[in-house]
């Protein structure tokens, strides 16, 4: 048994029953998600049977919204990796109730994202070729290595941060005993001894320090898939940091949305408070400003230089008959609105912050579309294809179904996770580890050993004499 303080016991009594029951509206929402997922499975079967010809992708636009979704999901995975990693390392006090949600977002989206890459592949049956014939020179292999490491890393991070709760749940009297068995397995005999705590805290610190550069690397590598090609709108040196900033921006947005949903449907009002929305809102605002700055810099530079092919892409973005309104939404509304609403205290409240987060996240999806599609529609040697579907990409029903089922899967996994671990950490992580004290103890030990060795030597010398 592990001893829990009063606060943790109260939290455990609040969350554990929630994990084994499901409300009527919960069942309804679950069915809704399953309908979308079944739609996606149907679309997947159609694509496998009929081939890629059922998508809107063609020889010029070789990648469609699948790759947009891929970037989008990997982007929102930043919620857990960067936000919770940084907040953990900085020992930010208010992070506790939101950290689990952030880490779950990371694991789920890092899992779903790469599925979209697989949907882009013409020969899924040859997936093993990546392992057998993989060439380290190819940015796709960089991606495979980075994302798989990142996925494993974020699972470890989530798991380490959940061990304390697993131990608490192990000792909780569930009706069905299999749960206790599962928690016993995952709690790895954690009892809350000071030695266990010390190791666990150190492991958590190490993992959050590892996960931050790993996350930065993952999105940089992803940006380089595009940045490494000689294409207008892609071949840009700022692409890696630009993608990283966009990813943290969208990750924070999704975290705010998730907090809002859980606060509402899981009665977490006493855990997730206005403070969390305010602080995350301010982080969102700063990232929005940074992202806006990158966007401005990117387009200003290519417009001012005005090379023919750069201009061709830019004209498409600013042409009202092509992409202007989408571009206006993605690069102006989606950046400026969150900044304005959060900047002015009068506008700042839980609902408004969530609303602008929804807008920012949607805008970022559109922005990824505008990075991928117009550039692919504008090859260096001007396109002279006569077939309209080869000139202009438009996603087909199959692609939309798979997109929506990806979002539904995201929520479904979230639901499943919330039934396995408390959505808010029950046992508070101990921040009181005194590192200078720890270092002193370790130093003392080393000095003691040295002295012992010296003494031994002396004794030997005397013997020798």
């Amino acid at each position: 048994m592990m001893e829990l303080d009063q606060k943790s016991t109260r939290a455990l009594k609040f969350f554990a029953p929630q994990m084994v029951t499901i409300s009527k509206s919960g069942i309804f929402r679950l069915i809704l998600l399953l309908i979308f997922i079944v739609g996606g499975i149907y679309a997947l079967l159609v694509q496998i049977i009929e081939g890629h010809v059922v998508t809107g992708m063609r020889d010029n636009v070789v990648w469609g919204i699948y790759i947009v979704n891929f970037i989008f999901f990997i982007g929102i995975s930043y919620a857990g990796a960067l936000i919770s990693g940084i907040l953990h390392l900085l020992r930010v006090k208010w992070r506790t109730p939101i950290i689990r949600i952030a880490e779950i977002i990371t694991v789920i989206s890092t899992f779903i994202g790469p599925i979209y890459i697989l949907l882009c592949m013409g020969r899924l049956d040859r997936l093993h070729h990546l392992a057998v014939f993989g060439r380290i020179q190819s940015p796709i292999i960089w991606d495979v290595l980075a994302i798989s490491t990142y996925l494993i890393g974020s699972i470890i991070f989530l798991y380490l941060a959940s061990i304390r709760d697993m131990a608490a749940l192990r000792d909780y009297p569930f009706e069905s005993k299999w749960r206790n068995g599962v928690y016993k397995f995952f709690a790895v005999n954690y009892r809350g001894t000071s030695r266990q705590n010390r190791y666990l805290d150190r492991a958590l610190d190490t993992m959050s320090a590892i996960i931050i550069p790993l996350a930065v690397l993952v999105h940089s590598v992803l940006a380089w898939i595009f940045g490494m090609t000689l294409r207008p709108g892609w071949h840009s040196t700022i692409f890696a940091p630009y993608f990283v900033v966009a990813a943290v921006f969208s990750g924070t947005g999704v975290l705010i949305i998730a907090l809002w949903i859980f606060r509402r449907f899981y009665n977490l009002k006493s855990y997730i408070t206005k403070i969390h929305f305010n602080y995350l809102g301010i982080i969102l605002m700063i990232l929005g400003a940074l992202y806006g700055y990158f966007t401005f810099s990117e387009y200003l530079t290519s417009w001012y230089g005005s090379e023919t092919w750069d201009m061709e892409v830019l004209y498409k973005l600013f042409d009202t008959s092509e992409y202007w309104w989408w571009f206006f939404f993605a690069a102006f509304i989606g950046v400026l609105l969150p900044i304005i609403v959060i900047l002015i205290p009068k506008f700042r409240n839980i609902n408004s912050i969530t609303a602008v987060s929804v807008i920012a996240v949607a805008a970022l999806w559109v922005k990824r579309y505008l990075i991928i599609i117009p550039t692919l529609e504008t090859p260096l040697l001007p396109l002279q294809d006569m077939r309209s579907e080869y000139i202009r990409y438009s996603p087909t029903l199959v692609e939309w179904l798979l997109t929506f089922s990806g979002v539904a899967t995201f929520f479904l996994f979230f639901f499943l996770f919330s039934k396995l671990v408390p959505i808010v950490p029950v046992v508070k992580a101990d921040d009181s580890v005194n590192y200078s004290q720890l270092r002193k103890t370790v130093m003392k030990r080393i000095i003691k050993r040295k002295i012992k060795e010296e003494k031994l030597k002396e004794a030997k010398k005397i013997e020798h004499l």
């Binding site: 081939g51 890629h52 010809v53 063609r58 020889d59 010029n60 070789v62 990648w63 882009c120 592949m121 013409g122 020969r123 040859r126 997936l127 070729h129 990546l130 057998v132 014939f133 993989g134 060439r135 020179q137 190819s138 940015p139 796709i140 292999i141 495979v144 898939i225 490494m228 090609t229 000689l230 294409r231 692919l376 090859p379 260096l380 040697l381 001007p382 396109l383 002279q384 006569m386 077939r387």
Partner: protein
Amino acid sequence: MSEVMKSHKRRNFLKTGAGLAIGLGAISINGLGTEPPIKDAGKKIKVLMPDGSLAEVDEKSLSTRTGSMQPAKGPKAKEGIPGRKFVMVIDLGKCNNARKCIEGCQKGHNLDTSQEWMTVHLRKDNHQSEPYWFPKPCYHCDNPPCVKVCPVGATYKRSDGCVLVDVNRCIGCKFCMSACPYSARVFNWEPPPKSSEANQDYSPETSVPGQVGTVGKCDFCPDRSRQGKLPYCVNSCPMGAIYFGDMNEDAISNGTETVSFKELINNRAGHRILEELGTYPSVYYLPPVDKAFSYERGLKNLSEEQKKKALENLSKY
């Protein structure tokens, strides 16, 4: 043109071409100057060097390198035909958009009519200049961006200059297609059309049969070079606008005449497309000068819709 005449001309080309290149294409000199002289030297024979001079070498130090006439398969297809460096020259002054190169290529590679490994664009260099027809194969770059990005090494560069695709290895990620600055690559969105050609054993040199879900492109027809033939597009061009040959031999041919590659490029200001990208293409263009016809003549081979689109593109300049 009748088939008989064509093959007659080809044979003529082969005679001249092969005659010129004796000692290089068919015979190679084993380690000339690097190995110790062979004892009991036999008869000396004269061979033509790449720079046009004659050299006398020992008969025994020569070995024939005819190689296989059959298209290479498996790992051998990665090596390239020894001693070759293929090059193509397209005379833009001669192209009138007959589109026969496209048809010949499609027939030879068992492609659907919607798939064009060779395309013909209507181009204009600037708003003052006259438009011209612009045949565009794969450029078989010496620094190929497509080969760099391939995650599984399904597309590769050979010693003879060809950039080939192994459709048995290709995973269909299409990264090569987005990396190619010349849009030379074509995806097999649907299975290739059924025909007798489709049953033959696959070789990256013939590119037949193609496979659904993989990438295809112009392969420079190395299988035909092995047999001493010119690529399908070169043979099909009624204007003789496309020359193909070996840079090492310094001999290229359009099927009717065989000329020196160096001379042609130097005398007629040969250039490559988007040289500034650093891709080093193997396809050169001769500028569209001294045209015997106006570009409008080529419009008749386009459908009404295509014509409209082509002229619309011109108005952009």
